[in-house]
Symmetry: C7
Subunit: 283 residues, 7 copies
């Protein structure tokens, strides 16, 4: 009795033939899908670049990321299908992928989240290198926007690495003119109208000397009745990043104007009542 | 022995015929479903627009998003079904979709959440461009409401990009008349009735000069007995966005009215008891 | 050899017959289930309305939501079953539904949560339009209770849109009489018993003049021994929303009563010890 | 050729017979299980009521909830089984249930959580109507304990609706005698021993006049050496809800006792050092 | 043609026989497993009790909980298996269990968490009745440790019910001697060495009078240079729960010792510089 | 007709033979796997102990935990396989395990988390008994490191039980020399250079007397310009746990050095401006 | 009748042959995949090292981690496949792996998260040993960056062990020049222009003496109008880690410059109004 008498050689060959046919079919299918997919992605980014007026470099980064992701997806599915054709059950492969997926899900979800957020940060131009922003509690100038991390240079020289997933609300201080605001207190004894006139004149004089001012500065009125002073608010609109210089200069100019006109910037006041010691003894 | 002797050609053809029949059936089914679905969606939005009085542009944005989502859903299911008809097990496709889905679930859930919230923000008109709102801790004027991000221009000129998912409670300050509120303190020595009369008169005089006032201003009474002053509250209702100007003007008017009538706005008081040094030495 | 020789026409017809039978069976089953289900839902709401004394409009809203949900559920299951009868594997449909479900789970869970909470808010009458409430940190008057969003008009005129899911604890200030509470400080030198008598008399005099008072006001005793004053507390029960007016009036009345009886409302005290400079030099 | 020639009528009938048999078997099984289950539940609650001494009304509420849940569970399983017997695949039903289950999981989990917590709140008697409690940050008297919501009446008259899920830690102030605590400061110059004697005597005199006192009040010693006063602490144990009245009365009694014995309750002290202006100029 | 002609009665009987055999096999298997399991659990707790020196009552509670859980687990599996043997598909049962499981997962997870934590609290003796602890932000004496809830009696008489899941960090103040700590300030003018000598002598004198002191009290040195005083720290080790009494007594003793030796406990100091009004006018 | 006529006894026997063969195969396989696995684990810990220089006791604890876990894993899989061989579907067993697993997942995840963290705490020697650490907000000395709980003895005598899962960041204060830091303020009138010289001399004198000092103490300069004093900082490096004693001694030494050299440690300053009452009346 | 008469020995052998063939196929496949995979990983890291200029040691750590992970993944899948070939259902293995995976998911997810974050920390060079950083709320110098834990030496000598998962935002203070910032207040009476001139001169004089200064220091203007002083800000850019020394030296230099030029650094001011006691009595 020979060892392999019952092996159905012809059936085996038929199977082999079918497998080959299926393999060819799959390869052709994947080649076509990949070609079409790549084309579509490239077209999309080309159109996007033209419409949104985005730098070619940034578009290229986004496009190559998209192409890579598409390739990995196709390769993964191709492997699974080939396994199935050869009759090895793909369960093992999928189980392995499942365990790895679970690990990704729990351990590396931050990473995926970083890349997704990074993708949209690049796409939507919320932040650009050199912008002055407030992100994730950090104040500073953007140094680099990456797919995983954004680097912000704080004003004290610290370099903050912020994972993109930490970036939710973006406060961009480099998107238009900024406001300069100065609150100045005058004494309750001084005439409010006169103080406003003096301050407004100082504002106009200052405006003439500073080209970074876009609008104002104007006295807008009595902001508060403080416990020792009447607070008057002055507001101006300045060119971007000039707000602090304007505020510093305005503070100096307004203080000097009040001084020159004899209007007091008061220190904290307190009314003292002197009581007779014997009279106030509690016991 | 020829290599493919046992291939059941007639069965194969039968199968092929069945596949073709099934394919045609599916294509017809999907065409019908798509046509009906699109029609239903368009009808819904048309009716919605008529009933809710929403701008055509906004409705179009929402409608095309809905149509796209419906298309993607149908295409996905069509591909799965075709795969199954051809006898390739769709498991691989689904597994791939599953892994991608997992990644979406963990990494990009924020994105889905953004779009869903954005959809309803557009649909329900909670915020409009030019509204003054408080959202996600940011105060400012809405510059743009997108499907993913809402842009708010802060009063200091900063542009805040808020992902829609961060928008839960919306405080819209541009939905009706606003309140102007001024608290003013008088001395404990002054007569409360007289002060109220003086303030009420000043209020009425001021009201005559300001057209943005809708109601009041009225003195509503003694709000608190402070440590050094009796605090009296004045309330008015003004046209939207005029509340600050009215408050500033009221503060000035009330302060001047009290001054003119000899009623004191007191500084903080403290009673001083002078003790004999030797007597108070602790040791 | 003809192309479809082996197709089992009679079996096909048998199958067709069976399918038709099954279809009819299912349609009948669903029709019955739907009829019964609708009836049950309507009965439930009818009874609920009678028992809970709820407005017809509110009941209708809840009932039509329930009927809709029930319909969607039946339609979904009907489609799945028909697919299965025709031998198309429903896996694709379910997979599609699964992916959509996942997206809902992660992205739109807030929406589902909103509707569920909204359903119970309407059902349990925790809040009504015109109620003064504190919800999700916002103080104000309810303007509208919807299935997705509740609108609260703040006292400063702001309209707050609160998604129902944000509503957990509801503090409703319009569900019964409210308390008016006034704390007033007297000097350590004054006799407590006399002050209490004077205040209690003032309370009784005030009560006679105000019809919104339900109970009290009564002096309840020495609430605290402050650093410069003995604090005495007065409490009253007033009609709803009248608590602030009563408090303001009580404050004025009590202050004037103490004044009229020569009992001092003291300013902050401090004992000053003058030391010899040379003696206190640390070095 | 007749259309249904090959239908195996006898097999069909056999199947029908088997189905009927199976149906009968299932119905009998479910009837028995339900009867036993209901009996067990009733027995459990009967025993529970006897052992824990709980009101019949409360037990009934819990029992009927348990019976309902058990019924729903049996009905659900009965339907699934019947479907299977008739050869309709129950997948569709289960899938539908799954989608609904998902929606519950994400959207209505709060509801389930409310009911579970409510069940245990009723079962364990942590809170009763009329109890004074602190729950979820709200202070007040319990008005109602429901399966979904607990209502607390705040002392200012507000009615707080707290979903049971928000109730984690329960601080019940109506579960035994309460402590009254008064801190009183004496001057650094006064003799501590004498002050303690005076206060202790006042405590004993007060105790004789107040029947709500369970233990004390006693002077327990020097609690702190404050910046201007030596703080002495007095503690008493009172009947429930009488602690505030006792504290108010004790405060008055102790203040008057110190006064009568010439022991000072001091105001804040500060030592003033007068410096020569020219000497202290920084520049 | 008779209605049940083709029913294979003998096969049916054979099946019945097999089912009976299988049933017997399963029942025997479960009986054995249960017997062994119970024995193992009992042995474990017996050994545990001997080794850890835990009260018999506590061990019994834990043991009966373990036995119950084991029983429920076996019963559940027994039912599932019997279902399968009778040829009813267990899917329905499992699906039902799954839905219930989901509800547990989302709604009652807190409950499971409570019992697990409670199990370990009882097992590890972290807290005992009568212990003074700080748990979940509550300070007080343990009144009861249950499987679901721990009851803490606050020092003001309030009874706090804390679900065990809220108990993470346990601070047990009844596990050994406690520290008494007194900070006392002397004047900058006084000699530190002399003050330390005086205080140390007072400490030693006090130690002789108090038997609850385990170690010290000792002066450990200059703890801080305050703005008006040099702070000196005294530390002692006392018997458990005696720390407050010791601190109160020490405070009195040290204050009197300094007084007796003429060392000052200073009031807050401030240096006053009188400026010429005209000179300091800002304007 | 005999009841079991058709039972295929020979097939049954064949099956039995196969089952026995399979059983033997599995038992052999598991025995081998267990032997190899145990050996590998033991080898790993032996090498680990040699390399990392860890106490034998600690290694033994970790090793026996690992061996136990490995055993439980093998036993679980062995049971499942035996079930399958006997033809009982293992679904029930797995379902049971699944429900238990779900309960673990939601209820006892903290427990698993505790053990995992505990494993690494023991492995990495981040904390040792007797270390002074700050963990989970608690300051104190480690008393015991267990697999589930770490015990920390606070300086006031309290014993804190911290579940290991609560231990994320570990601040170990017993891993090297510590810094002693003293900030001391001098008057604005005093010469900074002279004060620094005096302080540095005092530092050097003190260093000679204290052997626990490793480096310094050195005056590092003007740390801040306070509102009433120029703050000068002194830093030293001391042996572990000696930092507080050194700081206390340094404070005393520096205060005495300044005093001896006539340099003032100033009290808070304030400039007083006396205004004419009539002139400052606000009204 | 012999016991194993029906065993199909030849079929068994055929099966054995097929199994052997499959085994060989799998082993070959895995060998190839492993070889290729290892090569790809090594190539990737080689290129990465060349491009990013990273130390060989760090690259080796990352590479060996990657190789290990790849091996574990292959081994796991190899075992599963072998099991399947031998006809043992791999379900048990997978179920076991699933339970373990669940435990990992819930209990040890932190561990996976640590390693993933650690991998990227090493890869991206965000932190290096000896860097001064702020991470997870800890300030200090990096001592070691591991795959699971990062060690930071605080400035007070404490060693902080931070699990990598706790590291989100990294603030690295050793990545470039730092800013030194000194705020100094002058009296309201002093001339601002003169003060700025004096301070600027002092800055320039100081710059000449300090080589660690990169830019400035420069007076940038009036930062604020304080209640008692005009605050002027000075900014410089210094070499890394020199910022504190520069700030300390600048503070001293600027204080001495103002002093030398007779410009006052003012103490807090307060205006005192003396009122007639009788006049201010409230009652």
């Amino acid at each position: 009795m020979d060892i392999l008498p019952n092996i159905d050689w012809s059936g085996l060959l038929t199977n082999t033939g079918l497998i080959v046919l299926k393999l060819i079919g799959i390869i052709i299918a994947f080649t076509i899908v990949k070609a079409i997919g790549n084309r579509v992605i490239r077209k999309l980014f080309q159109r996007f670049q033209e419409r949104e007026n985005i730098s070619a470099g940034r578009t290229l980064t986004l496009q190559s990321l998209s192409l890579n992701l598409f390739s990995y997806f196709l390769i993964f599915m191709f492997i699974v299908m080939v396994f199935e054709i050869f009759g090895y059950d793909a369960t093992a492969l999928l189980a392995g992928a499942g365990v790895v997926g679970l690990a990704i899900g729990f351990g590396a979800q931050g990473l995926v989240s970083d890349v997704v957020t990074g993708f949209f940060l690049l796409l939507e131009k919320q932040i650009d290198v050199e912008d002055y922003v407030t992100i994730a509690g950090f104040d500073g100038i953007i140094e680099q926007v990456g797919l995983r991390t954004t680097q912000i240079r704080g004003f004290d020289g610290t370099l903050h690495y912020v994972p993109n997933r930490e970036i939710t609300n973006v406060s961009n201080h480099s998107r238009g003119n900024m406001r300069a605001l100065v609150d100045i207190g005058i004494s309750y004894n001084d005439d409010i109208d006169r103080a406003i006139t003096v301050l407004q004149e100082a504002c106009e004089k200052y405006q003439a000397t500073d080209e970074t001012i876009v609008e104002g500065p104007n006295v807008i009125g009595v902001q508060a009745l403080g416990s020792s002073e009447v607070i008057i608010r002055v507001i101006a609109k300045t060119e971007n990043m000039q707000q602090w210089a304007v505020e510093r200069n305005l503070r100096k100019a307004l203080k000097e104007a009040l001084e020159a006109n004899g209007i007091e910037i008061p220190f904290p006041h307190q009314v003292y009542i002197h009581k007779n010691e014997s009279e106030t003894r509690r016991a």
